[in-house]
């Protein structure tokens, strides 16, 4: 009987570092309560950075451990690094927000770290059991983060809705896993693949129903239509930094799992699945954009637009070639950064309150020119204009779709992008063209944005532009990480 040795822990080093950081933060909070909030945030960031360094060291190591359950391949390292970067950004955006809203829990940072750890297990594991546990660690941490403003009814309500629908979809996921286990006799993805390659195995009703249930559950997690209902509510009720984190990291983790389990794990060549994904992609893009068009709250608009962006990624999922899969990775990264940035602007107070509606955005150009400029960068990237990461991402997706002859899908996608120009530009117009009446008694703090947040936002904007101008590095990384999957 083979026991686990220390070499098994090598692919887990980043996770272990993060857990260590979580315990340090937990203890610091205990022994230095109250005044030391900045210390906690800095400790968290240091933890994320060290883990990121460890992650980069693991690149090309090809380390595996725990009977092949955990792998450190290019795919998992790329996504894990993304979660860590988003984690750093979220901490930078959180500090002033937590102070403004009186969220005095040091546990906030601990939960942020554990959520990232959950995502990392979800992405780097080849065993459905560990993937499921990682997913649950991420989900339960996020339920608590969403509901952490426990005296605010909206926050409670968002947490409750998130929890109920999350637990509901977990039920579907587990039932799907159990049927797939029944059909193949294993819960390890490589063994499932082998078992499903036997002749006739794909016509096994157990396998078909199992895969369908897993698709439903994954649909909930990445919020594609018709399983998107929770997104706008949860995103608008949650504290804004948490919204940014969920829309970026949690969604990327969902797509990473989608790719790992459904696209490379289970062979889905059958026409039925293609048609299903096609319908989901078209519905998701259209519903997301049309609903975003009708919102008056910028936060809700961004929530619906995140649904629409999941739709663009679904286009690449439909196509399913290696080129398309690498565009899934590129777009997930690009969207994660620009989405975090856009939500991040909304965390900074303006005229004494946290901006929510379009009207609240008036007067930015005059009193917060820097933020107005950054927000415009994010909006242009979300539209997908050249010189931004969003442009390259969309280009990759639609190029891959056209190469495989999905003309209609591309046309619908482009029409949807055109539709989205309206509401994104509306934000820019509000920022620059409208003066905005200063509410009575509001303190005008010209250019006094919190330093941490500004650092994070500038960083995010630079990444967005960098990805737009020099996309080559990430494109190559994405392509090589896809090749490690097969």
């Amino acid at each position: 009987m083979a026991f686990v040795t220390t070499t098994d822990l090598i692919p887990l080093i980043p996770e272990l570092i993060l857990l260590g950081a979580a315990f340090v933060v937990l203890l610091l909070d205990l022994f230095a309560p109250g005044s030391q909030r900045t210390t906690l945030a800095v400790t968290t960031i240091v933890g994320f950075v060290i883990a990121l360094v460890a992650e980069i060291q693991l690149l090309d190591s090809g380390a595996t451990g725990f009977y092949g359950t955990i792998v450190a391949d290019g795919f998992s390292i790329l996504f894990e690094s993304l979660y860590l970067v988003i984690g750093i950004l979220t901490v930078l955006l959180s500090l002033h927000y937590l102070d403004d809203h009186g969220i005095g829990f040091g546990e906030y940072y601990v939960l942020l770290i554990t959520a990232v750890v959950g995502m990392m297990f979800m992405t780097s594991s080849l065993e459905l059991l560990v993937i499921f546990i990682g997913l649950e660690i991420m989900s339960i941490s996020s339920y608590i983060l969403v509901g952490i403003r426990r005296r605010v009814p909206e926050s409670n309500e968002a947490a409750l809705k998130y929890l109920l629908l999350g637990a509901f979809s977990t039920g579907f996921l587990l039932y799907g896993i159990s049927l797939l286990y029944g059909a193949t006799g294993s819960i390890r993805i490589p063994e499932i693949v082998v078992a499903l390659q036997e002749p006739g195995a794909l016509n096994n009703p157990l396998a078909i129903i199992g895969v369908a249930l897993i698709i439903i559950a994954m649909g909930f997690k990445v919020a594609v239509v018709p399983f998107h209902m929770w997104t706008p509510d949860v995103y608008s009720g949650a504290p804004t930094p948490v919204t940014a984190f969920l829309s970026a990291a949690a969604k990327a983790a969902g797509f990473a799992m989608f790719v790992r389990v459904l696209l490379t794990g289970i062979p889905l060549e059958a026409e039925l699945w293609k048609d299903l994904f096609w319908a989901i992609a078209v519905l998701t893009m259209t519903v997301g954009n049309v609903m975003a068009l009708m919102q008056n709250s910028v936060k809700r608009m961004l929530a619906y637009s995140s649904v629409a962006h999941a739709g663009y990624i679904m286009v690449a999922v439909v196509v399913g070639t290696p080129a398309a899969l690498s565009s899934v990775i590129f777009y997930s990264c690009a969207y994660a950064v620009m989405g975090t940035g856009a939500f991040g602007i909304l965390t900074v107070r303006h005229f004494g309150k946290t901006p929510d509606s379009y009207d609240d955005l008036a007067g930015y150009a005059r009193y917060k020119p820097c933020l107005a400029f950054l927000m415009s960068v994010f909006m242009l990237s979300l539209i997908g204009l050249p010189l931004t990461g969003g442009f390259i991402g969309k280009l990759q997706i639609f190029q891959a779709a056209l190469e495989e002859g999905w003309v209609w899908l591309t046309v619908i996608g482009l029409l949807n992008s055109a539709l989205s120009v309206y509401y994104y530009l509306r934000v820019v117009v509000c920022l620059y063209m409208r003066e905005g009446s200063v509410p009575d008694g509001a303190v005008l703090e010209v250019a006094e944005s919190p330093g941490f947040a500004l650092t994070g936002l500038v960083g995010a904007a630079s990444v967005v532009v960098y990805l737009g101008v020099f996309p080559q590095t990430l494109l190559e990384l994405a392509a090589s990480s896809v090749s490690t999957l097969f």
């Binding site: 009814p153 409670n156 409750l160 977990t170 039920g171 587990l174 039932y175 049927l179 819960i187």
Partner: protein
């Protein structure tokens, strides 16, 4: 020997009763209990498959499902407690500050 297909049918029926409970009931705690019922149906199908295939993986999986169910119940019930403090109701339809 109990026929596996009958175990699967029982588990599917329990699962769908759970799904119906989530969709039809309005008391949030009963909705939550229905989700627990769904998870139990999954456990039953895991045991059934494990027995049929002479494999232990399914049995091991159940322990983790039970732990996750317990953790979810703890967090869920504390969220329900805190929402009850501000709203004084357990009816899902009245949680409408955010439109569904």
């Amino acid at each position: 020997m109990i026929p596996i297909s009958h175990v699967l049918v029982l588990s599917a029926l329990l699962f769908s009763i759970g799904v119906l409970g989530v969709m039809l009931r309005r008391n949030v705690i009963v909705v939550f209990m229905s989700i627990e019922l769904m998870l139990n149906a999954v456990n039953l199908s895991f045991v059934g498959f494990a027995r049929t295939m002479d494999d232990m993986t399914g049995v091991i999986f159940i322990f983790f499902i039970i732990v996750v169910a317990a953790a979810e119940a703890v967090v869920g019930l504390s969220i329900i407690l805190s929402i009850y403090r501000t709203r004084k109701t357990l009816n899902i339809d009245e949680f409408n500050l955010l439109k569904w």
